[in-house]
């Protein structure tokens, strides 16, 4: 057994040579190019729809940002709301409470009872 008698390195090299001969280059089939172009087109259409979806999402995000920005600006421009101090705002908010706890008044200039 020649192959078995040589060093293992030689045996392995012979094995690889036999493998190379066993793996002849295959002839491309007639469907090779049409299939390749079909795959390219299908990937292109996928990429195109993905890109379109991504663009739509970006547009929606930009629109939402603009809307939020406008809304925030309008609220900030409400000067009366923001010109009050905290104490003033509290006082204004608690006017009803002060009415309720106001001291009772005695009317002394009423006409005497007969």
């Amino acid at each position: 057994m020649n192959l078995m008698r040589g060093s293992q390195d030689d045996q392995l090299d012979a094995f690889f040579r036999a493998y190379r001969e066993a793996c002849a280059t295959p002839e491309p089939s007639v469907h090779f190019m049409p299939q390749l172009w079909r795959r390219i087109e299908s990937r292109q259409s996928f990429t195109f729809s993905f890109r379109r979806m991504a663009n739509a999402l970006v547009t929606a995000a930009v629109a939402a940002t603009v809307c939020l920005g406008v809304y925030t600006t309008i609220r900030r421009s409400d000067a009366a709301f923001y010109s009050q101090s905290y104490v003033e705002a509290l006082a204004e908010a608690s006017t009803i409470d002060t009415d309720l706890v106001a001291p009772a008044r005695l009317e002394i200039n009423q006409a005497p009872l007969e």
């Binding site: 057994m1 690889f16 190379r20 066993a22 793996c23 295959p26 491309p28 090779f32 190019m33 299939q35």
Partner: protein
């Protein structure tokens, strides 16, 4: 180079006819390389199409036309690697099948009765495939490119973009692992054949 730089530049600019010419110029070579790396004739075209598909969508990333061939080889290596990784999840051959097939191949080679029928070639492919199960997919491809494809270390250096010494170390280790598997499978058979 099988194509001129002008053709590559035209393909980069989006000329589909130029790309078609590039595929026609390289497809047989790529098919041969993939065949030797993956050893599955039924899947060779599919992997080769994947290579050219990746080439089509990444051609604009190629800076200089001079590095086109190593770059195409790198795409081939990557596609083969992805295929082999998927295949490893559903292995078809077991290491226990190896020794019988090896001995069959050794008998045929040593006795000078080199059969070239499909069955014999299939068995050799299966044997090497099983033997290369001893190394990782990446090392398997590297070994195939060096030992079977016959690429030089310089060419491999361009494809893998690592220095020659690192490649030598990796190749040596991969070969040692394969040799170990090879030795283990033949050891059990030798006494029986001698006796």
């Amino acid at each position: 180079m099988r194509v001129d730089f002008e053709l590559i530049k035209r393909a980069q600019a989006g000329d589909n006819a130029a790309f078609n010419e590039i595929v026609l110029a390289y497809r047989k070579r790529i098919l041969g390389t993939i065949m030797r790396v993956i050893a599955r004739p039924e899947d060779v075209e599919d992997v080769a199409q994947e290579v050219f598909l990746r080439l089509y969508f990444s051609l604009d990333q190629l800076r200089t036309a001079e590095v086109f061939e190593p770059w195409l080889y790198r795409l081939t290596v990557n596609a083969a690697y992805d295929y082999l990784r998927k295949q490893r999840r559903r292995p078809e051959y077991r290491m226990s099948d190896l020794s019988e097939q090896q001995v069959l191949m050794a008998d045929a080679t040593a006795g000078g009765k080199v059969e070239h029928d499909d069955q014999y070639q299939k068995k050799i492919r299966e044997s090497v495939d099983a033997l290369l199960g001893a190394v990782s997919e990446a090392d398997r491809i590297l070994l195939m490119l060096k030992e079977v494809e016959g690429l030089s270390l310089k060419e491999l250096e361009k494809i893998y973009q690592v220095n020659e010494n690192a490649l030598k170390v990796r190749l040596f280790r991969a070969r040692q692992r394969v040799l170990k598997a090879f030795g283990a499978s033949t050891k059990g058979k030798e006494p029986a054949q001698a006796g």
